[in-house]
Amino acid sequence: MKPLLLLSAAGLAFAFSAAPVMAENKSVAITQIVEHPALDAARKGVQDALAADGFTVGDTLDWTYESAQGNGATAAQIANKFVGEEPDVIVAIATPSAQAVVAKTSDIPIVFSAVTDPIAAKLVPQAEKPGGNVTGVSDLTPVGLHLSMIDDAVGGVEKIGVIYNPGEANSQVLVDLAKSEAAQLGYEIVEAGAPRSADVKAAAESLVGKVDAIYVPTDNTVVSAFESVVRVGEQAKLPVFAGDTDSVSRGAIAALGFDYYQVGYKTGEVVARILKGENPGDIDVQYASLGMMSLVVNKEAAEKMGVELPEEFLAKAQ
C-alpha cells in the first residue's frame, strides 16, 4: 500500500509541477533559406523582440531554428517538418522559405520577414488585413523615403534625376515606384537611361542643369560605375544620393539602408501579437518605415558637391 501511495503522490507532484509550464510555453519555429549577415541579423531581431514581450527563448518560449543552407528542396523539407510539429507560429525569413511554408499549411500562423514583394510572391492577397494565416514584414525599397531624405538633406528640391538601366527589370520597378511616390510628394522625376556601365557618365552629364539632385537606385549597371556619377556631381556641384548604403563610401552624400535587425524586430513584434491571441489575417503586412532604416552620411562628399547638411539631418545619421 505504502509504495503505491508514494508513487501516486510522486505522480501528482509531477503532474502539478510539469503541467503549468507545459501549458504556458509558446513555441515558435523559424526557417531561413541561407545563412547571410542581413538574414541572421533579422533572426536576432525576432528573438530580441519576443524577449522584450516576455517570450524568452529557452525559458518561456520553445524555439526551433533551421536553415536550408541555400537549397530549395531542403527548404520544402523544413516546411514539412515544421507543419508536422505544429508550433504556435512559424517565422519564415526570405521569399523561398516563406513560399515553402505557405504551400504546406493554411492553419498554422505564418509570419514572413525580409520578403521584398509578398503580394507578387503570392504569400498574401493584399497588404491590409491579409486574411488567412499569413502576415509579415516586407523589405521593399522605400523609394518615397529616399526621395524625402534627399529633400531633407539639400532643401528646396523640385526635380530629381534618376539614372538607371532600362534593361534591368528590378530598376524599372523602382523607377515606376519613384515616379508615383514623387507625384504624391510633389517632386518631378527626370529619367536618364544608361544601358551599359560605359554610358553612365553621359547619362549623369545629361542631367546637369535640369535637376536639383541625382538619385541612383539599386541598379547594378549604374552602381558598378558609381564613381562616374560622383565625378559629374562634384564638377557640376550636383548632389548625388544612392539607394544602397555601400555606395556612400564610394562618394554618395547619403543613403537610407535597411537595418535588418530592426526588420527582424518588427517581425518579432508581430509574432508576439499572434502568440498573445491576435489573428494573423487581421494584422496588416508592414512595409519599411523610418524605424527600420539606418541613415549613412558622407560629409566629405557633401562638401565636394557644395551641400551644407542641416544639423538635424546629421543627427539622424548613425
Partner: protein, 263 residues
C-alpha cells in the same frame, strides 16, 4: 542538372501563370530540359569540349536563361491550377495524396526506362557509358547516342523540377543549387545498398538512394537533441550518409574478425 532542375520549374511556372494547361507545361518543361541536354552533348561531341566543362557551361548559361524564362527570380503558383490540383478531390489529405501521386509517376518512369534501356538503342547507350571505345568498335553511333542520353536524362531532371514547382507552389532561380550533388549521392548510396546486377535493380537503387538521402536530411533536421544546430545541417547529413554506407562493410569486417582469420 543544377540548371535543368530549375529550368523545368521555370518553364512550368511561366507557362502555368500565363494560362497554359499544366500538362502541356510539363511536356514543355521536359522538351526544354531535353534541349539543354542536347546542347551539352553538342558542346562535348561536336565542339570537343571536355564533358565536365560542357555541363558546367550549360549549367551557368541556364541560370540566365531561367531568369529570362520567368522574367523574375521567383514565380509563385499558389493560386493556379496545376497537374496536382485534381488530387484535392480525393478523400485523402495532401500529405498522403501527393506522395502517392509521385509514387505512381516514379513507377511509370522507372518502368519506361527499364523498357527503353533494354532495347537495342538503350543497350548501345549503356555500352557507351561503360566503355565508349569498345562501343564505337562495335558500330554504335556514339555521338548521336550521347546526345539522346543527355536529352533523356535532362528531360527527366526538368520533369522533376516541374513537379517540384507544382507541388511546392513556386519556382526560384536558386532552386537547383546542389541538385547534382544530391543526385550523385543518391545513385551511389543506392548502388552501395543494392548492388546493381540488372538494370531494373539499378533503377530501384537510384530511387531508394534518393529516399535515403532525404531521410538523412530529415534525421539531421531532427537531431537537435544531439546539440546540433541549424548550421550543422549539411555536415550532419554527410555523416549520416557515411554511416549508412559504411554500416554493411563494418558489419562484414566485425563478422570476419569474430570468425577468426581465414588463413
Amino acid at each position: 542538372m543544377d540548371g535543368s532542375f530549375p529550368l523545368g520549374a521555370a518553364v512550368t511556372a511561366a507557362l502555368i501563370t500565363s494560362g497554359v494547361d499544366p500538362w502541356i507545361s510539363m511536356l514543355a518543361a521536359m522538351i526544354a530540359g531535353a534541349a539543354a541536354g542536347a546542347v551539352t552533348a553538342f558542346l562535348n561531341v561536336r565542339l570537343g569540349i571536355l564533358h565536365l566543362l560542357a555541363s558546367i557551361l550549360t549549367m551557368i548559361a541556364l541560370y540566365s536563361i531561367n531568369l529570362r524564362v520567368m522574367g523574375a527570380p521567383n514565380v509563385a503558383l499558389f493560386s493556379e491550377a496545376t497537374a496536382l490540383t485534381p488530387l484535392e478531390a480525393l478523400p485523402l489529405p495532401a500529405f498522403q495524396s501527393k506522395p502517392l501521386a509521385f509514387l505512381v509517376a516514379i513507377a511509370v518512369i522507372a518502368i519506361g526506362l527499364n523498357w527503353f534501356l533494354r532495347t537495342e538503342t538503350g543497350l548501345a547507350m549503356r555500352a557507351i557509358g561503360a566503355n565508349p571505345r569498345m562501343a564505337r568498335a562495335q558500330g554504335a553511333r556514339v555521338g548521336l547516342l550521347i546526345g539522346m542520353g543527355m536529352a533523356l536524362s535532362n528531360a527527366l531532371v526538368a520533369l522533376g523540377g516541374s513537379l517540384f514547382a507544382q507541388s511546392q507552389g513556386f519556382a526560384d532561380v536558386t532552386l537547383g543549387v546542389g541538385t547534382i550533388v544530391v543526385g550523385l549521392a543518391a545513385v551511389i548510396v543506392g548502388e552501395a545498398i543494392l548492388p546493381p546486377k540488372r538494370i531494373w535493380i539499378a533503377l530501384l537503387a537510384c530511387i531508394i538512394g534518393s529516399i535515403i538521402y532525404r531521410f538523412a536530411i530529415q534525421l539531421a533536421l531532427s537531431a537537435d537533441w544531439l546539440g546540433l544546430e541549424a548550421q550543422d545541417l549539411n555536415l550532419a547529413t554527410a555523416i549520416l550518409i557515411v554511416l549508412a554506407m559504411s554500416a554493411p562493410s563494418v558489419r562484414a569486417k566485425l563478422g570476419a574478425r569474430r570468425r577468426g582469420p581465414a588463413r
